[in-house]
Subunit: 133 residues, 2 copies
């Protein structure tokens, strides 16, 4: 398959007004919105306040990946880790994933908490959160 | 940001020899491999047998998304659901996510279980699995 032909499209955008965004959703109580394009409103059926959702997004402000990013020392760790064991935004593909909590749903706008994405981050997908057992 | 300029690249491929793949990783004990390109081997540091990992991949064989896919009846449900509450492969962006278990690591090849992806599926990213609390 020719991945060159895969075109991603933003289905919406993350909004928050924080001066600084927490480093990870596990330590964030930052609130904001996922403002989806109106055409996707129908896909939000069954999303309810209190639910956890998986949000797939683009690291749109990250530096370009180069092979020296394969090993990385996260700011909150004292050891170098393999990139696939970290949530570093500088990755072979600049795709991020966060688990957020739905606070409310209004048309094509989700109010959410647990945000660790920058204001303006393009949203690519929302999936149900399912814990591994 | 111009998403047209985002180029995804496969970092590897899913291998399995199942005639039929389970519908979801939560109900799968299918084993196979994630065969990464050799250049990414260094990024697998700290991945150990027994770990759960999040695998981001491309739904490379899915039909093209059209707006009538916003509501969808999953085969194992009797109700129509919003696409963002399902794991349907026909989505605005054809990106999938599964939580697999690492069985062993050999160079740039991970033996894994819990596979619900077709043989040949392009792998885009591997992330640590972190349960929401």
């Amino acid at each position: 398959m020719d991945l060159e032909h895969i075109r991603l499209k933003a289905i919406g955008v993350v909004k928050n007004d924080a001066a600084e965004v927490p480093r990870h959703w596990t330590v964030s109580d930052l609130r904001g919105q996922l403002v989806l394009d109106a055409e996707y409103e129908g896909g939000l059926k069954d999303i309810r306040p209190g639910m956890r959702i998986v949000v797939i997004f683009l690291f749109h402000r990250s530096r370009e990946y180069t092979p020296d990013h394969l090993r990385h020392k996260p700011p909150h760790h004292d050891q170098v880790k393999g990139i696939f064991s970290t949530c570093s935004p500088v990755r072979p593909n600049p795709i991020g994933m966060s688990v957020l909590t739905v606070e409310s749903v209004d048309g094509s706008v989700l109010a959410v908490s647990g945000i660790d994405m920058l204001d303006g981050t393009p949203v690519l997908d929302i999936k149900p959160y399912i814990a591994a057992t």
